[in-house]
Amino acid sequence: MTPASGVIEARSVSKRFGGVVALDSVTVSILPGEIVAVIGENGAGKSTLVKILCGVHPCDEGEVRIDEQPVFLAGPADAFAHGIARIPQELELCDSMTVAENLLLGREPAGQFGWVDENACRSAARNALEQVALDVPLDIAVSELGHGQRQLVAIARALDGQARVLLLDEPTATLSPTETKVLLDRIQTLKKSGAAIVLITHRLGEVEQVADRVVVLRDGHHVATLEGDQIDRDEMVRQMVGRDLEPAAMESIPPGQVRLAVQGLLSNNHPDPIHFEVKAGERIALAGLVGAGRSELLEALFGLRGRQGQVQIDQQLLPPLNPGHSVEVGIALVPEERASQGLALQRTVADNAMLPGLYREAGAFGWLAPNAGENTATEVVQKLGVRPGRTDIAAGDLSGGNQQKVVIGKWLALDPGVLLLDEPTRGVDVGAREEIHQRLRELSREGVAILFASSEMEEVLALSHRIIVMHEGRITGTLTSSEATEEEILALATGGSAA
């Protein structure tokens, strides 16, 4: 890594999209050997700021400076040439190619006629991996690595390209606790060797752990810079939201009839029989690490994956592998990946919101009235507080949190008795998360049985009555939330037993 003497600075940058001000005269500078966390709710302007710093968007006003010199960044490749690398959440790796090929992509050591120098490739790749202390074979396809390892490959590639500034966008969103720890360790090592690091994350615990400075954005404005002792969870939340959040009081488990009963469920991902029940009004969390089989369990219940054993909804036997029937008997699944599994991004909010219930509106021969489903869509938008409150804009134009509200809302239009959610608030900002939690609490008070999988420990503890902890496809323990601790859950999730 080059001795980092410089500094990267966004000076009074503003950016408008259409009539919406995404960033309003924001000034941020990052020094070598520093980790700066940029936090804020979705739509606060974090992504816009990062995209300006790495050349994806030009800014309307203001300038980006490197070492005091104003620079124009024509695009990510250009920014990369200036030593600025963005590691986006969706890693930009070529999955079918090897680790070495990925590390040197775009700057392969070449001889005459564009001949690739294999030996130079391998030694350069090895050096790159050493910088992030990652020990994987150079010849295996990147697709065979775990997500944490892939992240480190992406970072190694950036560093090897002489990047002095790393922009990390939600790097830990999909990592297990162990992987997260490794990644944060490596980031701190890189900082000590002089890298300037910008960290965008919703996980405030990580910010407390590693950030030297915290830049808080709200509605496109730079509202606060926190340093040292000021970097504190409550303070960060207050600055992000602009008000204090009331911690929700946890009500005790209400008595109710069993709505979802699972007996002896077995599948490819679940080697031992699984039994549990969810009562009306109950919220149960599925906790565990990546690969614990939580998503697969939800999908098996809903009918997207094969299973054996009995699943009953309101005493009615639910046949496997029949999602259409599941929807009819009142079971709904909010999937993990809202962009790829939950929404048709180019279609309007209305189209998305009315989709699951559309069959109810159809007349003879599947005929739809021109305004079919409009009321449903309006109701979804109102009930969940989707912003902006319009049904005629493309779902893809909403912020992540508001997209998630639509994904959840479209099922509520069907009045499901059992609601399954996979990572209900992944990548959703604090404010929208609280609104979604609030809505889920209301639903369970109305008698809906809720089963959700979450990797966020805070969410598991705050939202559930009971916690089912899974490890490698087996249930390793069931805890009552009011008595459970993070340590206990983690112990069960890693295959140990609760102390």
């Binding site: 490749a77 990369f80 790796l93 190619m97 090929e101 992509l105 775009g106 392969e108 590639r157």
Partner: protein, 321 residues
């Protein structure tokens, strides 16, 4: 290498079964013919695979073969131009047409399927128009040039290597080196695997893609030339019909994913050979009526793809458990 093992097994099994039913399968005459056909289709298969690796497709191969294959004898025997002028000129034209496909796909961001589908219609239509649907042939002319297509290099008494096989070997070695050993090849694979990543790494994505389409055009042109040199004459309404599908089948059977980013030249060669062996088997085995050729080939390709997917699933399941 592991990836081509499955398709190699299928090739061996089909060959052994055919040989055991029909002794003439192993006759030197048949083997020579088979090698000639496989070589010709291997050349256009390699062209198709380069485009498929980018995640694109080229449906115009057959019509381009028709264009070059018909215009070559036409220019030489009817217009009276020198072969030294006609052959390089037409190959340049084929490369230029491929280049144009690339330009339309990258600069105008049109879908490869659409661009090359239009090519499929246009080139055949133009050829039929120029020749007024008349068959053109060399007659007795250009017998020297024709050895490129129908030449034989005697090895033993009865057996000779067909000339196109040598051309294929040169093309295949060059293509394999290009794909595996040069920066351009790396970039081609990277683009097919993840175009955004490639772009953000500073790779000139458009230029590399245009190159792939131009090479595919050139190889189709070479194919068209060799086909007509071999047969001696061409009929514009059916010359090269469906050849793009044989080329795509060779690439897909050989391990090229239509999603892009994957593929080997060795695989494509085996794929091309398998398709020709299948066609040959249908002719040789009396119990299979010749007119169901397409159905048999379609079914075999489908089975191969299903088997491939099944193997992939088993492997990934074993890996996860």
């Amino acid at each position: 290498m592991k990836k081509v093992l499955g398709i190699l097994t299928v090739l061996v099994v089909v060959s052994v079964v055919t040989a055991s039913i029909s002794p003439s399968f192993l006759s030197s005459y048949n083997i020579e013919n088979l090698l000639r056909r496989s070589a010709l289709f291997g050349i256009i298969g390699i062209g198709a695979s380069l485009v498929i690796i980018t995640g694109g497709i080229d449906l115009s191969i057959g019509s381009l073969i028709c264009l070059i294959g018909c215009l070559t004898p036409w220019f030489i025997t009817q217009v009276g131009l020198s072969a030294w002028l006609v052959v390089p000129g037409l190959l340049l034209l084929a490369a230029a047409l491929g280049f144009t496909h690339g330009l339309l796909v990258t600069r105008l961001k049109l879908q490869p399927f659409l661009v090359t589908l239009c090519g499929l219609f246009i080139y055949r239509g133009i050829t039929r128009g120029i020749l007024a649907d008349n068959t053109v042939g060399f007659g007795t002319a250009e017998s020297g040039l024709r050895t490129l297509g129908n030449g034989r290099i005697p090895i033993t008494d009865g057996f000779a290597l067909p000339a196109p096989l040598l051309i294929l070997i040169v093309v295949a070695v060059l293509a394999a080196l290009l794909l595996r050993r040069t920066v351009w090849g790396r970039h081609l694979l990277a683009i097919g695997s993840n175009e955004t990543a490639a772009r953000h790494c500073g790779i000139a994505v458009d230029r590399v893609k245009i190159g792939a389409y131009a090479l595919c055009g050139l190889l189709s042109g070479i194919g068209g030339l060799l086909f007509v040199l071999d047969t001696g004459s061409a009929q514009p309404s059916n010359f090269g019909n469906f050849y793009e599908l044989y080329a795509i089948a060779a690439a897909v059977l050989g391990g090229c994913s239509l999603r892009g980013g994957e593929g080997t030249i060795v695989g494509v060669l085996i794929g091309a050979t398998l398709v020709q062996v299948l066609r040959n088997s249908i002719v040789l085995i009396d119990d299979i009526p010749d007119n169901i050729e397409f159905a048999v080939i379609g079914a075999i390709i489908l089975l191969a793809v299903i088997a491939d997917e099944a193997v992939r699933r088993t492997v990934s399941r074993r890996k996860s458990s």
